[in-house]
Assembly symmetry: C2
Homo-oligomer: 220 residues x 2
């Protein structure tokens, strides 16, 4: 009970994936509770009254909200195995900068890619391509964003990879052909057990999004 | 030269104030360079090519961008004096959550309060009042957001206090009368030498904003 860890989450959430990957990296056993986002549980509303959003990490009865904050909490609470943030303060600042960049720039266009059509979807595509260019340039020829070790920025972005196929299909463009370094990076991440275990199947994401698009846009 | 610290900043920026307060708390000597935001220096564009924004902290020739990341960098690089983040992982996560909340919820309505008029300004006022209610409730009867010690969340929000008078004047409402606990908290922060030294005079902020409003809105 004392070490009890509960995660309120939704399977396709790239934010939730970050927290799940961090828990897997540390070998922390946790209880996963799937939320119905159209009918959120009273526990979710009680534990995250400010944002009312998943994922919520509950440790020893106390909530930690916001995925990047959760990942840092997990790294600080279980510091021994697989460090997620580097030990050098400058490298830590760089890791925080790029995960913050991903949070500020990626979700908006990515949501619009599947929840909009026409001009708004086209604008989102151009915006997302700029983000991908910036990230591919930042990655360069390194194995991971932080260098040789898998870390915070990889965790911040890898969840989006499970949505790439959906973005390509619904918005009719190719990420795979245009960003080979990012794709190699994603495949490198997927060799890790934590990532392979957490990332959902791309077809499953597309199927779910297509059903949702039928409801909100009247198209698949 | 090796320990050289340079801050590219703008005097009225509540983001820059965070970094300046953190440097003062640690007793770090630094060179302050005022930026002309309508004609940014080549050094700023070179050091922050992604966001092209102040403040930029340059330490030993290397840039750290984004104010909350800078404050954490300063805390980790000069850890001895006046710790800014608590040592307990859960308390650290809480401090990060509330500084992130301030970043996500405050700047948008605060900018609209002075750069808009009419309905948009009214909407911003209601939005900002909700933020103030949430922060006053979170503060409760504590001396500082983290408890008895001045820390990250205080640093994240205190810069806005130097703009309160401007918001009140240009948007015609009272923060002072409605949020007594926040005002007492701000006065408590101002007892600290770091805050007193960094926060600009409220009249100076109003004068500058009024001149800007004349240009962009045609009103004072």
């Amino acid at each position: 009970m004392v070490e009890e860890v509960i995660l309120l989450d939704y399977w396709a959430s790239m934010f939730g994936m970050r927290t799940r990957i961090a828990l897997e990296e540390k070998g922390v056993k946790y209880e996963y509770r799937e939320e119905d986002l159209s009918n959120k549980s009273s526990l979710l509303l009680e534990m995250n009254p400010i944002h009312k959003k998943i994922p919520v990490l509950i440790h020893k009865g106390k909530p930690v909200c916001e995925s990047i904050i959760q990942v840092q909490y997990i790294d600080e609470t279980w510091p021994g195995k697989n460090p997620i943030l580097p030990s050098d303060p400058y490298q830590r600042a760089q890791a925080r900068f790029w995960s913050d960049y991903i949070d500020k720039k990626t979700y908006g266009p990515c949501k619009a890619l599947w929840s909009e059509k026409g001009e708004k979807q086209e604008a989102a595509k151009l915006e997302f391509i700029e983000v991908l260019k910036t990230l591919e340039s930042e990655l360069g020829d390194r194995s991971f964003f932080g260098g040789n070790e898998f870390g915070l920025v990889d965790i911040a972005f890898i969840g989006y990879y499970s949505w790439f196929y959906t973005y390509e299909e619904v918005a009719n463009f190719s990420i795979v052909a245009e960003f080979p370094k990012l794709i190699l990076w994603a495949k490198r991440c997927l060799i890790r057990e934590s990532v392979a275990k957490v990332l959902p199947d791309s077809d499953k994401v597309l199927k779910s999004v297509s059903e949702h698009r039928k409801i909100i846009l009247g198209i698949s």
